[in-house]
Assembly symmetry: C2
């Protein structure tokens, strides 16, 4: 699902209320209709849109009633600033992602622990298939407490990551402003975009053009100006910052 | 601006296109109207909504033409999962935020460096007010290259934080599913919410009720059931996990 489709769906207050309700429990149309004070016909219409986007799914229970639930985990980020309007939607990263490969962010949780939290007490291992013994009950209690504790850790982590991201974006805006102020000629936004691409290690005109969506001819002009000012330099076809 | 207001504004494709355009450069109504192929009247209407929300501002230039630009930095995060529908909108964290106070996330940038990047070469310090000398030009070039480099670092950081957040949210969903599967009686979502509050150190019924928005009477029943199963325990009025 792309961000535009997601934003179109979320732009309606009743659809947001339906999603909030379904995230608490799966519901039938009549329940949603009563809870929201909206006609069943309108609810069906909203549900169809959410279903078409793959955000909601329906099942039929043994009394042949159709109930709806949220089928997907999706995340959307929107940033609006004087220098940026960015929307990004994504599914959660696979749990196999090696988060330790991040170069600048490190996370202080014991992330390699088995999160599915089968109890680690090997003494009870042989009883595991026997779900009725007294040990199975104790084992389950232990696992529930451990999962709740773990879930709380991840929720704290999520709050910190969100805070860190807002902090980083505040710095990005401040840096963009500072950079724009120091660029004397040409369009500061255009020049900044080219410069940041070069700083990112993109060295050749064609690649910079693709990354910045600026025509190669214009990229070349900007680079020549920047070279004249002693900000970038060229070696063969490769451009880099003078640092 | 609350998330609902933000989502209502972003739910319209033309308003999104206006924001994207204004993030590239400030514009007049006629420019926006031509670029979007939308009547000036409709553009004015969208701009008024964006202005009322404080997202866009206008200035009048010396030829008395009114031009519009984005006035604020705002960030929105939306999470949809079978267990959660969360929207969060926020201004960027203040640059004075001490990011090192985060317990679980650490960032490997030299965050204390002065980001406003006045060149650090003290030899040229006395020339600084003389903006026309050759040193001033060299100094400026150095600052521009340093700022571009720094901006690129922060943009990479932002991408990693976004990835880390998606990873954390994937783990949260998996943990919620694992927890729901192991809860034998009562509503798994309700029981999970109470458990996570207890895991977070919220120990008394009233406080758990406020945090989970579940009536105190119900919280008490859930806690008694969990105590009977050996998952939580009480000491006086304080509940905690049995770990």
């Amino acid at each position: 699902m792309d961000s535009a489709e997601f934003l179109d769906l979320l732009g309606n207050a009743n659809r947001r209320r339906i999603l909030r309700l379904l995230s608490q429990r799966p519901c039938y149309v009549t329940e949603i209709s009563e809870y929201l004070g909206v006609s069943p016909k309108a609810v069906i219409d909203h549900l169809r849109k959410l279903e078409d986007a793959g955000l909601v799914e329906s099942r039929t229970d043994d009394r042949r009633r159709k109930y709806f639930s949220i089928s997907r985990h999706v995340r959307l980020e929107v940033t609006v600033s004087p220098y940026e309007f960015g929307t990004k939607s994504a599914y959660p990263a696979s749990s196999g992602l090696d988060i330790t490969s991040c170069r600048q962010v490190s996370i202080e949780l014991d992330i390699n622990e088995d999160l599915d939290a089968e109890p680690r007490d090997d003494r009870t291992g042989e009883d595991r298939t026997d779900g009725d013994g007294p040990d199975a009950g104790a084992e389950n209690s232990e696992a529930v407490a451990a999962l709740a504790d773990r879930l709380n850790d991840f929720e704290s982590l999520e709050r910190e990551l969100s805070l860190a991201q807002r902090w980083a974006q505040g710095r990005i805006t401040a840096l963009r402003e500072a950079l724009a102020e120091r660029i004397d000629h040409g369009d500061p936004r255009l020049v900044s975009a080219v410069l940041v691409a070069v700083a990112d290690g993109t060295s050749q005109v064609e690649a910079i053009s693709r990354e910045t969506e600026v025509p190669p001819r214009v990229v070349e002009d900007v680079l020549e100006d920047l070279a004249a000012a002693g900000i970038v330099e060229r070696e063969g076809r490769d451009w880099s910052l003078v640092l």
